[in-house]
């Protein structure tokens, strides 16, 4: 199966890489960065005709609260996913405790659930009208309700949904370290606990930050989850300005602030990366013994991992299954195969494209490791931080523009009417997905490429393998694990994606995600459980794949 998958990647990649070698790495990187910048530019251009009245209103009444809310969210989620993801990664990568093997992959499963579904389940369970509070009232006369619909609640749910990004990258980082460094620290009189903080953690920092930046970008772009909580962030304000107040200029002003915020984060991440040359030197020597946790520590570890698994995945899934059983008979019909098939097709093709482009970008960066190139590469991955509908519309407007150009020109020349050329094609859909999800694919690819040292390239060269041959015989095999990880992440994310799918899909093309939308947009959350479960189940397969191959070394 691997070979069959590799072929189109190889094909797509050879195309891109030939282009890259012909036009130079800069061209590739710029082209990809431009792809992302198109929607951003389109939206930003609307600022040229500013709507002062609405902007004043936003500034006075809405922005202060938004800033505070968004800041809290970013900080809260940032700390939460880092602590949770890194802690769990350490436990499953370096330690041994009951259930470790299961948790190694099970802790990634929340990736298969859309965050707003998790949000809805938890609010449903814990809110005033939910199971827990009702039981407390009826059986115990206690009128206390868990404060789930609060800032803390949003942060908690988003942490549960997004920690797998940090978990994944941190785990890869820890696995690559080897026990030697910890033993060296111990031999110098530093206990294992302190050695974790002084040695293991700092060296894993690039990996942790890569996962953290993905999580934060998704937090900033998120609309579905914060809507369920009715929590006002920048993104909800952008939607409100654009679609409720009919003011694209005001929306674009807000979006531009958001983008600057994201750029600042990107700069910070960039700076932290530059002081870290150590990705290569930390050789993964010694897959030596895991730290065997004893007694109380082992119990705590198992307990902690179980708790997270329950809260982030098991309980939401069970609730969804309960809801599904109610409506399955009525809603599950022959069309579901189509929905599932469309989802699979789009996610599969999209993942392939994302990975190929990520690889091309990674190579461009490798061939020309200047700061300018690194910045361009970072810009190319910005799409992940843009609110979905903004990206979708921002991407669609130029596509429609090109279509109009073609159609009008054709009409002038031949007096014939033709339909849309680019609009409604899978090609545009997949390209839009790439704009959004390049970030997700780029992370693993970048890390994987960094592991291939220059000396390996030179060794290959001396043995007569250069260029494309080297790619296939030396690099691709070494990149297999990161490429599969990138593909799996992109696959799962595309399956859950909504605004781009809605906007660019051909007539009659529904996916599981659009099904969820149809149900939830009219508040029929329980009916949305069936497609949500389907998304989750289909997403399990690539996650399994992901884990199997990220564990290859251990």
């Amino acid at each position: 199966m691997i070979t069959a998958e590799k072929a189109p990647v190889a094909g797509a990649f050879s195309f891109v890489s030939n282009a890259s070698s012909r036009f130079g790495p800069w061209t590739v990187a710029l082209a990809l960065a431009l792809l992302t910048l198109i929607p951003v530019t389109v939206v930003a251009l609307a600022m040229l005709d500013p709507d002062q009245a609405i902007w004043d209103h936003l500034w006075r009444h809405v922005l202060p609260e938004l800033l505070v809310n968004t800041l809290w969210l970013v900080i809260g989620v940032g700390i939460g996913v880092t602590v949770l993801g890194t802690g769990l990664a350490w436990l499953t990568a370096a330690c041994e405790f009951p259930g470790r093997k299961f948790f190694s992959w099970a802790l990634l499963l929340p990736l298969a659930l859309p965050a707003y579904v998790t949000a809805f389940v938890w609010i449903g369970l814990l809110d005033f009208t939910g199971g827990l509070a009702t039981w407390l009232r009826d059986s115990w006369d206690i009128t206390w309700t868990p404060p789930i619909r609060s800032r803390g609640g949003v942060i908690l749910v988003m942490v549960l949904a997004l920690y797998p990004y940090v978990y994944l990258t941190a785990r890869t980082a820890f696995q690559g370290q080897g026990r030697r460094l910890l033993e060296a620290a111990q031999s110098l009189g530093v206990s294992r606990r302190r050695a974790f903080f002084r040695v293991a953690l700092p060296i894993a920092r690039p990996g942790i930050i890569a996962g953290l930046s993905l999580a934060l970008m998704e937090t900033l772009a998120d609309f579905g989850t914060v809507s369920v909580f009715n929590y006002n962030t920048f993104t909800t304000a952008i939607y409100k300005a654009w679609f409720s107040m009919f003011s694209l200029p005001a929306a674009s002003q807000l979006a531009t602030i958001l983008i600057f915020f994201v750029l600042a984060l990107v700069m910070l991440e960039q700076l932290s990366r530059n002081s870290a040359h150590y990705a290569n030197s930390a050789r993964g020597s010694g897959g030596a013994r895991r730290i065997r946790l004893g007694g109380a520590n082992a119990a705590m570890a198992t307990g902690f991992a179980s708790l997270v698994f329950l809260l982030a995945f098991a309980i939401p899934l069970i609730q969804l299954l309960i809801w599904t059983s109610d409506i399955m008979v009525s809603d599950l019909d022959a069309r579901y195969f189509d929905f599932a098939w469309h989802s699979l097709l789009l996610a599969g093709l999209g993942a392939l494209l994302v990975v190929s482009l990520a690889l091309a970008l990674g190579y461009a960066q490798r061939l020309q490791p200047t700061p300018g190139m690194q910045l361009t590469a970072r810009l190319a991955t910005l799409g992940y931080a843009l609110p979905g509908a903004v990206l979708a519309v921002g991407f669609y407007i130029p596509v429609a523009g090109i279509d109009n150009l073609i159609i009008d020109t054709w009409r002038d020349w031949t007096r014939q009417e033709i339909g849309q050329v680019f609009g409604g094609t899978l090609f545009v859909m997949l390209l839009a997905y790439s704009t959004r999800f390049l970030a997700v694919g780029f992370g693993p690819v970048e890390t994987g490429l960094a592991r291939i040292t220059k000396t390996m390239d030179e060794a290959a060269q001396v043995l007569g393998t250069t260029g494309m041959k080297r790619l296939f015989r030396v690099h691709l095999p070494m990149l297999r694990a990161p490429l599969l990880a990138a593909a799996a992440l992109a696959f799962v994310d595309i399956m859950k994606e909504l605004p781009i799918t809605l906007m660019t899909r051909p007539f009659g093309w529904d996916t599981l995600a659009t099904r969820v939308f149809e149900m939830t947009s009219e508040g029929e959350w329980e009916r949305a459980a069936l497609p949500a479960v389907a998304i989750c189940l289909v997403g399990l397969l690539p996650i399994f794949f992901l884990v199997k191959h990220s564990d290859a070394r251990t």
Binding site: R180, L181, E183, A185, Q186, S187, G189, V190, S191, H277
Partner: protein
């Protein structure tokens, strides 16, 4: 300073170490030498505290750091043993500069003292000018020296070195072995080295324990190991040589094809069973090293040159004896004989190393 008593360790049911015992006095440099899989690294890790023993006792100074009693193992944590460790792959912290690496174990010290100690250590290993460099910017030899400085900085009571020079090229290896030995002796550090390379062992150690299959075959000075191996394994592992069949004539003579060997036989007769007296007429194998054979043009005994290896100062000839046995002979390289040529040889041993058949 270091004492192992009847230490044993198993991995599941497979024994890794069996009944290992030796002692290092303060200031001594010891070495565990043996082929891969012999258990030497495990012994080192036991002393460091990264493995648990299943029998026996390990003492550092007067302190028992590992013991197995009443069916339970007691082990002091590695970080509490004050034992320094230099790893085979250096294990330098890639995220810290050279100076910070060396300072890593000194967090208990006040800052000024720490800086002084780091400077002192870097000076000792000759890397003061690289204090702010990062490990990935250094060569292998430099990284090795940083690892040494780092391990020595906290003044450990014992220094353990795990194949410290195996990643370096031969010349550097020789040079560094001597340098490191000088440093250790200068600072009067007790050290235990683990290696499979006997040249390294000979260059650095005062006492060497030759190990095979989890057992120390012989713990002795390099000279004694070479000239008086107590069993076939040691004889084979150390240096070069061949075993020629022979017969014991009396307590002072053993006869082999090359002639009669004069030398004390008492107590020199040993085999793997550990017997110390030989019976007359018993058959033995006698160890003949290349330096035991002397090229003498006047000798009546001729041997045919089968192979020759030029080694700069001498040739190592593989000679075929009239009886068909082969011996190795170390001959001054001015004597350049062709393959097939017959040259005269005679024995030049003054002691006998013989093993019962």
């Amino acid at each position: 300073m270091l004492a192992l008593e009847h230490v044993a360790q198993s991995y599941g049911s497979k024994p890794i170490l069996s009944d290992v015992s030796f002692v290092l006095s303060p200031g001594q440099i010891g070495c565990l030498l043996g082929p891969s899989g012999c258990g030497k690294t495990t012994a080192l890790r036991l002393i460091a505290g990264f493995e648990q023993l299943s029998a026996g006792e390990i003492r550092i100074g007067a302190e028992i750091v590992s013991a197995f009693a009443n069916g339970r193992g007691h082990s002091l944590l590695p970080e509490q043993r004050r034992v320094g460790l230099v790893f085979q792959d250096y294990a330098l912290f890639p995220h810290l500069s050279v100076a910070k690496n060396v300072a890593f174990g000194l967090s208990a010290m006040p800052a000024t003292d720490r800086r002084m100690r780091v400077a002192e250590m870097l000076d000792l290993v000759g890397l003061s000018h690289e204090a702010e460099a990062y490990p990935h910017q250094l060569s292998g030899g430099q990284q090795q020296r940083v690892a040494l400085a780092r391990a020595l900085a906290p003044r450990p009571r014992l220094l353990l070195l795990d194949e410290p020079f195996s990643n370096l090229d031969v010349e550097l290896r020789e040079k560094l072995s001597l340098e490191v030995r000088d440093i250790l002796k200068q600072e009067a550090i007790t050290a235990l080295l683990v290696t499979h390379d006997q040249h390294e062992a000979f260059a650095m150690a005062d006492n060497i324990g030759v190990m095979n299959k989890g057992v120390i075959q012989q713990w002795d000075t390099p000279y004694n190991l070479y000239h008086q191996p107590i069993n076939r394994f040691v004889a084979d592992f150390i240096g070069q040589g061949v075993l020629l069949p022979g017969e014991v004539l009396n307590s002072r003579q053993v006869e082999i094809e090359l002639g009669v060997l004069e030398g004390s036989v008492d107590g020199d007769c040993s085999d793997e069973g550990g017997c110390t007296q030989c019976d007359l007429g018993c058959r033995v194998d006698v160890l003949i090293r290349p330096d035991d054979i002397i090229h003498d043009d006047d000798s009546l005994l001729m041997a045919e040159v089968e192979r020759k290896a030029f080694r700069g100062a001498d040739f190592l000839y593989t000679l075929k004896l009239p009886g068909g046995q082969r011996v190795l002979a170390q001959v001054d390289s001015h004597h350049n004989h062709a393959i097939g040529e017959k040259i005269g040889i005679r024995l030049g041993v003054d002691h006998v190393v013989a093993f019962r058949k």
